[in-house]
Amino acid sequence: MPAVSYDSVEVGTELPAGQYRVGRGDLIRYAGASGDFNPIHWNERIARSVGLPNVIAHGMYTMALAGRTLTDWTGDPGSVREFGVRFTKPVPVPDDDAGAEVVVTARVTQKLDDRQVRVDLVATCAGEKVLGQARAVVALP
């Protein structure tokens, strides 16, 4: 685990970026684990019938990937005090071996009291921003 501490970071510190592959099987598994069985996440016919370009990832799946960028950085998932996102664009997941790729970058934007920092995240898929106003407050040792 990287030894991140409140004193070792400053405004502008970049978190290690995350790159995550998302395939159809991942969405099926997430549907089962989360209980969100909306067919737009696993049925291409239904996804297209409601105007989507393809099956799309659960917004909460993309949020979880962004969350991982935070928790991999601190090593302690309990350090995440606040975490919020806006779902701005869907992540289409094609029916092939490559799937989609979500890239998450993040940086410290503010040092708060009580050894907490504010982190802004950017998540993109195929160059398009898929999360808006993705922000977190994280406690550091």
């Binding site: 598994r29 989360s34 909460m60 302690d76 779902f87």
Partner: protein, 149 residues
């Protein structure tokens, strides 16, 4: 179809508490492909000062998705579930959820707005443990797309 604005401020008291299982946390961590041992190994969690394995930051959705169904499928509200998309989600964690927690979910309708033909529903769900302590507050914004949208 507009949502019934009289629902703003309405609260749904908790039903039966959700019991957080160690294997459910593992299943969820597997589903988000996160190998962190703190989600699976009690000793690893204890090393960080937790009594048992803890859950990923977005895990509360497993609980709130179920507890919000009473509202979303309330025929009087008039929500067309097939046109609903998730607009925003935010969690405020007082402490991480952990295996063995019994969490009661109380939901409040925060806002109902109509913007550009879409209906926008804001909810707040508080998850409290068996001692009544607030563990997580989850804020969701749900968008019901209008006929043109």
């Amino acid at each position: 179809m507009p949502l019934d604005p009289s629902y703003v401020g309405r609260s749904y008291p908790p039903g039966e508490p959700y019991e957080v299982g160690r294997e459910k946390i593992r299943e969820f961590a597997d589903a988000i492909a996160d190998p962190n041992p703190v989600y699976r190994d009690r000793a690893a969690a204890q090393k960080l000062g937790y009594p048992d394995v803890i859950a990923p930051p977005t895990f509360p959705m497993v609980i709130t998705a179920t507890s919000s169904q009473r509202l979303l499928f309330d025929p009087e509200l008039g929500l067309d579930y097939g046109r609903m998309v998730h607009g925003e989600q935010r969690f405020v964690h007082n402490r991480p959820i952990r295996a063995g927690d019994r969490l009661a979910a109380a939901l409040t309708v925060d806002s109902i707005r109509s913007i550009a033909g879409n209906e926008i529903l804001g909810t707040k769900t508080e998850l409290r443990d068996a001692d009544g302590e607030l563990v997580v507050t989850a804020y969701a914004t749900l968008i019901v797309r209008g006929p043109e949208g």
